[in-house]
Symmetry: C2
Amino acid sequence: MNLSLNKHSSEPLYIQIFEQLKELIQQGVLPEDYKLPTIRVLASSLDVNNVTVINAYKLLEDHKLIYKKVGSGSYVLPMEEKLNIGNAISDDREELEYDYNGEEGYIDFATASPDPRLFPMKDFKAAINDVIERDGGKAFMYLDSRGYLPLRGSIASYLSHKAIEVGPEDVYIISGAQQGIDIIAKALLTNGDYVFVESPTYTGAASVFKSRGARIVEIPLLNDGPDMKELEKLLQVIKPKFMYIMPNFQNPTGCSYSERKKKHLMLLSKKYNLLIVEDDYAGDLSYTEKAAVPLKAYDKMDHVIYIKSFSKIFMPGLRVAFLIIPENIKKTIASAKYMTDISTSGFMQRVLDLYLNRNILDDHIKYMKKEYGLRYFEAVRASKKYLRGAMFNQPNGGLNLWIKLPEKVNSSELYEACKKNKVLITMGTVFLKGQEGEQYIRLSFAGVDVPEITRGIAIMGNAIEEIKESAD
Amino acid sequence: MNLSLNKHSSEPLYIQIFEQLKELIQQGVLPEDYKLPTIRVLASSLDVNNVTVINAYKLLEDHKLIYKKVGSGSYVLPMEEKLNIGNAISDDREELEYDYNGEEGYIDFATASPDPRLFPMKDFKAAINDVIERDGGKAFMYLDSRGYLPLRGSIASYLSHKAIEVGPEDVYIISGAQQGIDIIAKALLTNGDYVFVESPTYTGAASVFKSRGARIVEIPLLNDGPDMKELEKLLQVIKPKFMYIMPNFQNPTGCSYSERKKKHLMLLSKKYNLLIVEDDYAGDLSYTEKAAVPLKAYDKMDHVIYIKSFSKIFMPGLRVAFLIIPENIKKTIASAKYMTDISTSGFMQRVLDLYLNRNILDDHIKYMKKEYGLRYFEAVRASKKYLRGAMFNQPNGGLNLWIKLPEKVNSSELYEACKKNKVLITMGTVFLKGQEGEQYIRLSFAGVDVPEITRGIAIMGNAIEEIKESAD
């Protein structure tokens, strides 16, 4: 085991140890159940304090990479259990079921999963049965890779309310937004290509791009959208295959691009022939009168691939989402989809289509906005009240608050303190590297009901105060 | 447009033209609606007969790559329409819906799609409603990437009847066999890796491997399995990442490996540390007393990845299949699945699980075997009677007959003659290159009922006789 520390780096030593061990474990260099060196041995071999190693091991344990056996030492956690508990990626947008159902008694601000009690089961059940009555076995046949044509039409007319003018032929059905990201990567990226992303961004997208051998370039996100000067500077020297962004209620920051920046971005897209992938993660969920306008609505040049999932506003288990594809890449996207899984479940597509035609979706979105809105405003209120010294923007939409912690409070410490008190949050380090990430947490409020939001944030507040005190 | 012909090649000139134009079209070098040179112009520029170009254009037209405008010439067919009609890949294992439903009045031996009239809709509907009653909104939550644990357990016990001893932890749920192939490729292949496949093989798999930059090495398939000498010779000089095979009722040949060859293959796998991907495409569908034993049942070394779909024996529209994963690659497969689509629809998994637990699947397989068996035996009987001079093995299982045509009869000619008479078949050239492919057709009988099988094969027989006569 070969670790090399830079004692002059601004990155704390325990983070350096953590990062390097994490990599060795994830690459399988340290196999499952491998016994790590004792704290004393590793500390002396690295010439650091015992407490530095203790902190690094603790962080590994929190990241579900190692486990402790009392009186025996620390071991690499087998993948099985890692997956069961959920790792960094699974903490993000799309969660493993265990996260939601497994942790009885926890207040879970870590998963951005919607609350299943809000799902429209009665209407949905009726639609399911109607499709079976109407289509019989045909509903379970293979389907055109691009999707069920009537659904593609229903989606096209649904989009016209969002100022997006497309036809059924532009809409491709996919099995969830993550698959959209995967298919786009498969169709467009080869080894060494550049991809621009926001910083911070959704890690589940960046991982896919990296696995195609792409080089990721991070564009800093300001309050009203990307740093446009930085972006243009980079565009002058690098030609990325595309730029992956969430222009409304971004994950994790909640940031929405200003109208000016959306227009500016489309100008740059024209000037530099830049393809943009817009992941409309939670654009429907605006909690004020002002609806969020998708970037795609500004796209006159056919430069934007639009990804939209029904997971957040409807039900994640559907596994149905869609893409809007610019004309010139339809062919390659269709063939990538075909190679990926032939087609998305035709049955679910038929059910969703019926659902859209009955105009129940809009009513349901209104209902979800009302419910999530209550949660959002309580999350804001309680955070202002209990999280003293913390700072955050009020996105007025989406599923997350991105909270900058008071000085002296690290997100990993806070994570641990909250967990002890049965409150789960997501550390900023999942989205931003090192010390910068330590300054933030993401608080996802959509899966937690109002009284629990109050209680959970009060607990966080206490934890912050305790950490501040112990630091003094 | 730059074509270069080899007049001394054994490959007919019209095939050479076809192949080169096909490539130019598929690569987008010739864009949609591009007007091809007139027959006269191209023939004179290539110094060949007009009829050679006519044949090449005809073949392109049959492959849905170009279309004719009367009095104007030939044009590259837009992708939209190509996809609608189905191309080479979609002619194969997994078909676009249009193939099945669209061609009214056709007898369709081209799609290996099951007959929706055989789907167990009543039982399935009951299971769907029971799941909604039992689980409510929970059924539509996100799920563990590896699948719904109870279903993984049900599948593990179902497999014990096939002499495959695994636990729930070895079973990973995926959205169809094609996704399994994609995930395996994503997890294991990088640029320049070698993959061994059978020749002929399922083209939808080979395309995926190639898209990861893999080099494909074809192992000839004999009557009782691969050419083992050739295989070992290659293993001595090349270390492939894996070998992709269908050991029972192979697609397209129907070939099943002998027990001896299965054991021999496992020995080679041990000797050369060869990872094998077994695609159990249609292993359940044996029409004799003798059940087909999966290669996985012989795998004592954990060297076989097993892929099994429920599409052929149950319903394609489910989009549920599973993998059995060797221990040492579980981690990388799980993460590739996560990046691909987070998880397969949890709702469908719950329904299938209930279905398995009620022990209805085995009864249903018995029923499908009976129905498909009747079709198989009629296909064999009619082929012997009507296809004079043709040769084929009798696989006694699966979904296809792989028929070697009489001399002087090319599969592309026969395809065209059959189509005129409203009978669809798959040309051997989809699976084997050039002149060798021209000697074969694949006849998929599962989607056609018995009287139509008789009628369709009689029509094929007439077409063969006419082609023979016109050749004399």
